[in-house]
């Protein structure tokens, strides 16, 4: 089982970078043919009787990794994820054609370390920075360290790789913190915690029956909760699914080998399938769930990923009504912000109105109380609210779908009126997590090589990324 080559191409399949790992790996041309013949549901392609192709599009690039057939499928797929992460670390996202072209030799050297005998081997950014010269936007190519003492002295002044780290760079394998770069030194010691939750919600279509029931029960009560006061009384369907995928990041710029304890509280929520960075001591977590005890890698790191289902539906709500107006051919989309604690606004709010692009020619007579609505591609209209949207606010959009005239009439002789199929809302909301997760405390338990008086912990940032708030029509 092994990786046979790594190709990076643009989205037209034109090769930008090639890194062969075996005698005669399938060429990019062969892979492009295989991709061209593939159907949409071929995630893994068979290139020949014993060769597979794993591929992924990221930014404006395609990463193609042909492998021998016995490889466990997730190894190349995870490898591609790691490669992208490393390239982001070295060259800043988003990746682009010029960035690849500018850095051939660095990417070559990275892959030379990342893959050993066709196996992914070192993919931690920290370990790689010890092995391959790191260039950021500010400095030029850093000289790598020659073995001569004279030249290494010179390089000490200009390089972040000290000659010391060079001679001991392989010792990271010996230490019990393989993920941490050796001899980390920072002038300003800083530590940040970022917790992000990506929220996915599916809200069912409001059936007439449910609306009736809701009004009998007093309607809006259903949506009121300890968290939110509804800004607009709404008759709303309960979400079918409301899942938050959370990630806890630390950004550490600490000298020496700091040992950190971070205690999180998840309220009464049940954490499903937490997945940890290798630096987290699992035994401590088991003793007391919520306790993350770890020696972090230098820089940014994702300590913990978790899933919580059955969360609140978030600070933004919306609904869709159809069959309105004198001709019963209008639809109305409403979007509103609730009033959660400690949050003043949401950003990048947008609502996509998804309809059947084959049947609908256009949307006419749109009237938006605020924001801007445009058809952006076949079957999708986007209603944008640039900048910040305050809390306790609402907006509505009305319009009529113009049905394609070439459509055949149904059995009753008329072409049925079309309405939006889905509304998809997305936004970013800083300062709150939809699951109510919080940092209880953070302590630097011990910091070898760290100044005792240093108060590096600069605080925590919460971000809820409403990604797919889907309202079914």
């Amino acid at each position: 089982m092994s990786i046979l080559a790594v190709y990076i191409t643009d989205t037209n399949g034109q090769q930008l970078f090639e890194y062969p790992l075996s005698d005669s790996p399938p060429t990019n041309k062969m892979l492009q043919v295989a991709l061209h013949d593939a159907s949409a549901d071929d995630v893994v392609l068979r290139v020949s009787s014993d060769e597979l192709l794993f591929h992924r599009r990221e930014d404006t690039l395609d990463f193609l990794v042909p492998c021998s057939s016995s490889i466990p499928a997730l190894i190349p797929l995870e490898f591609i994820s790691h490669l992208i992460k490393v390239l982001h670390d070295y060259f800043q996202p988003p990746l682009s054609r010029p960035k690849i072209e500018k850095n051939y030799s660095t990417i070559m050297m990275l892959l030379n370390e990342m893959i050993e005998d066709g196996y992914p081997f070192v993919t931690e950014e920290n370990a790689l920075r010890d092995l391959v010269p790191f260039t950021d936007g500010l400095s030029k190519y850093l000289p790598t360290l020659p073995k001569g003492a004279a030249s290494s002295l010179k390089s000490l002044t200009s390089s972040r790789l000290s000659s010391k780290s060079f001679s001991s760079d392989s010792s990271h394998m010996r230490s019990n913190v393989p993920w941490r770069r050796s001899n980390v030194k920072h002038n300003n010691n800083e530590l940040y915690v970022d917790i992000q939750e990506t929220l996915s919600v599916i809200i069912p279509a409001a059936s007439p029956m449910r609306q009736l029931l809701n009004s009998v029960n007093g309607g809006s009560n259903l949506t009121a909760s300890a968290f939110y006061t509804p800004a607009v009384p709404q008759i709303l369907a309960e979400p079918i699914v409301a899942i938050a995928h959370g990630s806890v990041f630390t950004t550490t710029k600490l000298s020496g080998v700091p040992d950190i304890q971070l205690i999180l509280s998840f309220g009464n929520r049940v954490l499903e399938g937490p997945a940890f960075h290798p630096c987290v001591r699992l035994a401590r977590w088991r003793e007391r769930p919520g306790t993350l005890s770890f020696v972090p890698p230098d820089g940014k790191c994702c300590l913990l990923q978790y899933t919580i289902s059955g969360v609140e539906s978030g600070p933004i709500g919306g609904d869709l009504k159809t069959g309105l107006g004198p001709m019963k051919d209008e639809f109305e989309v409403r979007v509103w912000s609730r009033v959660p604690r400690n949050v003043k606004f949401v950003e990048n709010l947008r609502a996509e109105v998804v309809f059947d692009g084959e049947r609908v020619q256009n949307v006419k007579g749109t009237r938006a109380s605020s924001g801007e609505f445009n058809i952006e591609k076949k079957g999708v209209g986007v209603w944008r609210f640039p900048g910040k949207t305050p809390m306790g606010w609402n907006a509505s959009l009305r319009g009529t779908m113009v049905v394609n005239e070439e459509l055949e009439a149904g059995p009753d002789g008329t072409v049925p009126q079309e309405f939006p199929k889905y509304i998809k809302i997305s936004y970013d909301c800083q300062g709150m997590l939809v699951s109510g997760t919080k940092v209880e405390s953070l302590r630097i338990v011990s910091g070898k090589g760290l100044d005792d008086r240093a108060k590096p912990y600069k605080g925590v940032k919460y971000l809820t990324h409403g990604k797919d708030i889907i309202i079914r029509g």
Partner: protein, 635 residues
């Protein structure tokens, strides 16, 4: 500085000048830049660069790691085209194998082992033995992979050199990364080899599990792969091992998670305590759900493997069904797999919720997915007896939309419902009959025609309905023609007066006006049957209207042996396709459960398909000397 500027044709001569030594070029900046240009051109297959071979080789001796790395990349790239020139670089590389810096030793070792030229292979054997015992772990792990690469390019050379034994020694190394590199190398060699096989005893397996936590994620995946070479001899031993592995399920690397699931599932075959097995398997649920927040490709592999695990252990995700509900913007391959999982997880308890959800999918824009959703509803009617009525109501609701492809798909599945529950839900036939016009696909037409034929005596105007279909008989596909032939015969048997005229017509068409042998043969058979048995209609009825074998959805699920083989391949392509390895790749090694006193007796392994002596024994088979009780991993 941009490498992009480096692409200029006819640059070889210019680059050669830049590579020349020059005292002013103090930090080799100029030469470094020139080499970058050469590497960039090489990457883009500018073969003009091959002219520079001697000039690049001259730079190898320069005192800069970055320059060395670029020279080596060049060498690896062009060595096969210019073997005699490449050979000239060998002495410098061999010198570097004795360099003070472990990085340079490792770099040159890696370079030599990547060059499949006989001179390089032979020159590497001796130093490799030494480097496997290098004081630096980085060098030792590179040496382990070096042996695997050397083996791939000249197996006999390695086998007589004793290097395999050298790698074997790494398995007791104090550094976990080196241990895993050793294992990966041995795995690689045994994978490609006919004669060798990895076998690991309990003590050694136990030590591997112990060092697992100290390894990086990839090393963990190799150790997990090699744990499949451990055959538990005792149920308690297998259970303990599985317990100790289960924290790996919480790793953030998805391939570690699936690798752990694979090993634990493998171990369950050797655990006798059912409750313990259920307890272990239950732990798979949450990590699998967490994988659903990963990129689509990873989600897909995770979902396919869920499907496989659920066939054996349907209860593990019973309460999580909602996480498999589809979003309209999921790619079709994700939606289709989620739909299959929803189907597997459906039970009497959640059927109403599931039907509401499937009804929703049936109004999506994506026609392919809508069809799958309608089919799933029909299959649920067959799977869960108590839910059939709800399923039929949902289907009728869908038929009422009068959307052609929905009606057709519903017709096909309703036919299957009639087959499962004969004479039970005939009241819905009249609803279907109202929508005959929208049927234009052969499968749907054939299904409707089958229903009409089967219930010809209960459908008031069955003769008229068939007559309408028969109008286009000659243009129909063979599938529809055969269905029409049979249905008309059934009509005749049940209602002779109404069917007489039609049956004669159809038999004539089928026997005289067709060039399809199947249709012609079946036509003749009916004809003979009807004419010879004319005195005894009962016989004809028994033949034509015989009881059909009942259908179930079980035929969709995998048999025990396939399931067992697939579960040994969790995470591989065969688990994605849900097909045995041998069906996907000819000649690949088939995994099977090794015999042991602890192996649970199941239908699938009662007679082992492969005798234990299947793999020829190789002298060095037991890399972990299992015989000695193996304390090999300790110091």
């Amino acid at each position: 500085m941009s490498d992009a500027k480096f692409f200029a044709k006819g640059k070889a001569a210019e680059l050669r000048l830049e590579l020349m030594s020059d005292k002013k070029d103090k930090n080799y900046t100029r030469r470094k830049t020139a080499l970058k240009k050469i590497v960039a051109n090489m990457t883009m297959n500018n073969n003009e660069m091959i002219q520079l071979f001697p000039d690049v080789l001259d730079c190898i001796k320069l005192d800069s790691l970055e320059i060395k790395k670029m020279c080596f990349l060049y060498l690896i790239n062009y060595c096969r085209l210019k073997p005699e020139l490449a050979n000239k670089a060998l002495p410098a590389l061999l010198d570097d194998l004795r360099d003070r810096s472990p990085l340079i030793r490792a770099l040159s070792l890696r370079t030599i082992s990547c060059i499949p030229l006989p001179a390089f292979n032979e020159a590497l054997v001796d130093p490799l033995g030494r480097l496997l015992r290098d004081p630096d772990p980085y060098v030792r792990k590179t040496a382990a992979f070096g042996v695997a690469k050397l083996w791939a390019s000249d197996g006999p050379l390695v086998e007589k050199s004793g290097l395999i034994q050298g790698v074997n020694q790494l398995l007791v190394d104090s550094n976990p990364t080196v241990v895993s590199a050793g294992l990966a190398a041995l795995n690689d060699v045994t994978d490609k080899s006919e004669g060798m096989k990895l076998a690991i005893g309990y003590q050694d397996a136990s030590k591997l599990v112990q060092i697992l936590a100290d390894c990086n994620e990839w090393s963990q995946t190799y150790i997990l792969s090699s744990l499949m070479a451990y055959t538990p001899q005792d149920p308690a031993e297998a259970l303990l091992m599985a317990e100790r592995l289960s924290p790996r399920l919480q790793h953030s690397n998805a391939s570690v998670v699936l690798g752990t699931i694979r090993v634990i599932l493998y171990l369950t075959h050797y655990i006798s305590d059912d409750t313990a097995v259920q307890g272990l398997v239950k732990r798979f649920g949450p990590p699998l759900v967490t994988l659903l927040s990963k990129p689509h490709e990873i989600q897909y592999v995770a979902l396919r493997n869920c499907l496989l695990i659920l066939q054996q252990y349907p209860h593990i995700l019973q309460n999580d069904i909602k996480v498999f509900f589809c979003k309209y913007n999921d790619p079709i391959y994700i939606k289709a797999t989620k739909l299959e999982i929803i189907f597997l997880l459906a039970s009497e308890d959640n059927i109403k919720e599931i039907l509401r959800e499937l009804r929703e999918y049936a109004s999506e824009i994506d026609v392919q997915f809508v069809r799958k959703a309608v089919r799933a509803i029909g299959k649920l009617a067959i799977k869960i007896d108590a839910a059939t009525r709800y399923c039929i109501d949902t289907l009728l609701d869908l038929v009422a939309t009068r959307v052609s492809y929905i009606v057709q798909e519903a017709t096909v599945v309703i036919k299957n419902i009639f087959r499962k529950y004969p004479n039970k839900y005939e009241s819905i036939i009249s609803v279907l009959c109202k929508n005959l016009d929208s049927l234009d696909e052969p499968e749907a037409k054939a299904a409707m025609i089958w229903i009409i034929g089967e219930y010809a005596d209960r459908i008031e105007n069955s003769d008229q309905l068939l007559d309408e279909f028969l109008f286009t008989f000659k243009e129909e596909t063979i599938e529809v023609q055969l269905a029409l032939l049979t249905a008309t015969v059934k009509l005749f048997i049940q209602r002779p007066t109404k069917g007489q005229e039609l049956v004669l017509q159809v038999l004539k068409w089928s026997t005289e006006d067709t060039d399809n042998p199947d249709l012609r043969d079946r036509g003749y058979m009916y004809w003979r049957l009807l004419s010879s048995a004319s005195g005894n209609a009962d016989i004809t009825r028994q033949v034509v209207m015989s009881d059909k074998p009942t259908i179930s959805v079980e035929s969709d699920t995998l048999d025990a042996r396939t399931l067992e083989e697939l579960s040994l391949n969790i995470g591989s392509l065969s688990s994605v396709y849900l097909k045995p390895v041998s069906q996907i790749f000819k000649g690949s090694k088939v995994r099977h459960l090794e015999q042991s006193p602890a192996l649970r007796r199941t239908d699938s392994n009662l007679e082992s398909p492969v005798s234990p002596g299947y793999y020829p024994n190789y002298a060095g088979v037991n890399y972990f000397a299992t015989s000695g009780g193996g304390d090999l991993l300790s110091d």
